[in-house]
């Protein structure tokens, strides 16, 4: 019935929405930042454990739509073990993929995150996918205040 939406709602997204990974409060987190999308009320808290400039652990709490939950769940998986610079690079690629500014996006470099490429066709939903990454960026820059997509 929802054939048109297959690109947006891939099975991986349903899976991460039903069973979000790293969905927990992190005791003794080195970074803790809140992300908020006032448009839809999505709210998340991102926790990071750092060893120098390497992200050794990432987890989150909060509630949001399937796109935003899957996006943050996938992100916490993929950034573990990455340096700050590598995480920033991923964010740049992810942003290009979801906003469709680049003609030829190397989806392979994005690994599992490529399942979120479908949001490009749904401008109203891009912020759902990018909230997690904006929050990560704030956490890496050690910005104490909450970030908002607006």
């Amino acid at each position: 019935m929802f054939e048109d939406l297959r690109d947006l709602y891939q099975e991986v997204i349903f899976d991460h929405n039903r069973n979000p990974r790293n969905f927990r409060v992190m005791e003794n987190a080195d970074r803790q930042v809140e992300g908020f999308n006032p448009l839809c009320g999505d709210r998340l808290t991102l926790f990071l454990k750092m060893d120098g400039d390497v992200i050794t652990d990432a987890s989150f709490q909060g509630s949001g739509c399937a796109i935003s939950t899957a996006s943050v769940s996938l992100m916490t998986e993929i950034v573990k073990g990455k340096t700050e610079v590598e995480a920033e690079e991923l964010f740049t690629k992810f942003h290009e993929m979801t906003t469709g500014k680049e003609e030829h996006i190397n989806l392979e470099a994005l690994g599992k995150l490529a399942v979120l490429a479908g949001v490009r066709e749904y401008p109203a939903r891009v912020k759902c996918a990018t909230l997690a990454w904006h929050t990560l960026e704030a956490a890496l820059k050690n910005e104490a205040s909450a970030v908002s997509t607006e």
């Binding site: 929802f2 947006l8 349903f14 839809c40 949001g64 739509c65 399937a66 796109i67 939903r125 759902c128």
Partner: protein, 407 residues
């Protein structure tokens, strides 16, 4: 017209024939804005094609024609809400501007530090923020009357909050997020008994029921044209003439003056005192056309048909497992706000859109209402006179399907 013929009405709305993603459009976002009948569209085309010039200025023929049509629309609004005089009908950009106007003129002139303004917990942001701004400017205090879980005003608590300090009550006639229709007459009578003025925010109520400002005895009534099947960017402030006359002007400029020198300015009479600058001429005239259209159908007929739609939709919604209706007031307009277990309203909105169904997903500019129910957002289907039971069936089967897909 005594019998209500929804199929005939649907034919008057060209957009209802649109296909969305290849499917028949099912437009259920009427609380956000209503679609426009051909008569409204035609009135704009007619004006710009044959009659358009600036109003209240020229002696030339087109200016006279535009002015006559513009002022005729004012009379239509006056009759539609049964105001006492055309002077009580002020054209503004919408309900929001009307509330801001009252806050910044009546409010600034009459409300002082320590005074109280009373609203309810079900208000739209447009009936919260202008009062917060006024409170910041004057040192007045904003009081909020609570609601119960059904989404109804707790009247006894409201009454207790009417104090010697209360200077103004500003309440929504019908809630956009919950559908609740407030007991306006009772609220107004109780406030008046204590000498307190009352503003009714009629943005949602106006397309769904007959409104009689004299019978209600409200001091101010505000609404937007675009929710009344008219254009966006136009709205109405009704105020009792004696109040409007005593109020200082809102914005300065052309049309709102009688005489200007560099030493002083003499303001124009009502309603022009509050209408600075060239107004939305075509939109006012098209709002008049919308009112003509509605009067021909009859607001009572519309209200009766929509009540039937809401009953049907509510009964169907209750059969869906995992669906929770937000807002179950005894007195309720044609709005069905709901949540689904573990499925975010934005996902509901996107999935229904792929089936051609337009609903609203979000906080409905009523974040305090969402906080009260402990939800970030709701999905909302809001009905208009052109919706059908068949469309409600399409909505409900869409909801069933998306529940299955989400698992």
């Amino acid at each position: 017209m005594s019998s209500f013929d929804v199929n005939k009405i649907r034919q008057d709305f060209p957009i209802l024939a649109e296909k969305i993603r290849g499917k028949d459009l099912v437009y259920l976002d009427n609380a956000a804005t209503c679609q426009k009948p051909q008569a409204v569209i035609d009135s704009i085309v007619q004006l710009y094609s044959h009659d358009y010039a600036n109003i209240h200025r020229g002696v030339h023929s087109l200016s006279v024609r535009s002015t006559d049509k513009f002022e005729a629309a004012r009379s239509k609004v006056k009759s539609f809400i049964n105001a006492n005089s055309d002077k009580e009908i002020i054209f503004v950009r919408g309900a929001t501007e009307a509330i801001n106007l009252v806050a910044q003129t009546y409010g600034k002139a009459n409300i002082k530090a320590g005074d109280e303004i009373l609203i309810t917990a079900m208000e739209h942001h447009s009936n919260i923020v202008p009062w917060q701004m006024l409170c910041e400017q004057t040192g007045a205090v904003l009081k909020v009357a609570p609601i119960n879980l059904k989404g109804e005003l707790i009247y006894s608590e409201f009454e207790q909050l009417l104090s010697d300090k209360t200077k103004l009550v500003s309440v929504v006639h019908m809630s956009n997020a919950l559908g609740t229709i407030n007991p306006a007459k009772k609220i107004i009578a109780a406030a008046h008994a204590k000498g307190i003025r009352v503003l009714l925010d009629g943005a949602q109520a106006i397309p769904h029921m007959a409104v009689d400002v004299q019978e209600l005895d409200c001091d101010f009534y505000v609404f937007s044209g675009h929710k009344l099947y008219g254009p966006s960017g136009i709205g109405v402030l009704y105020g009792k003439q004696s109040l409007l006359e005593a109020m200082p002007p809102y914005q300065g400029g052309g049309d709102m003056i009688r005489k200007v020198t560099f030493e002083e300015t003499e303001y124009n009479v009502l309603p022009y005192k509050f209408e600075a600058g060239t107004p939305a001429i075509a939109d006012v005239i098209a709002l008049g056309a919308a009112i003509d259209y509605l009067v021909a159908i009859g607001m009572e007929n519309i209200a009766a048909y929509e009540a039937e739609l809401l009953d049907y939709a509510t009964a169907k919604a209750k059969q869906i497992e995992g669906l929770t209706i937000i807002g179950e007031a005894e007195e309720k307009g044609a709005i069905l706000s709901f949540t689904l277990n573990k499925i975010h309203p934005h996902d509901i909105g996107t999935m229904l859109d792929s089936l051609g169904i337009a609903i609203r997903a979000g906080h409905h500019c009523a974040m305090p209402v969402m906080d009260f129910y402990g939800v970030p957002a709701t999905a909302r289907a809001s009905f208009a006179m052109y919706n059908t039971k068949r469309e409600i069936d399409v909505l409900m089967s869409g909801i069933q399907s998306l529940i299955e897909v989400f698992g």
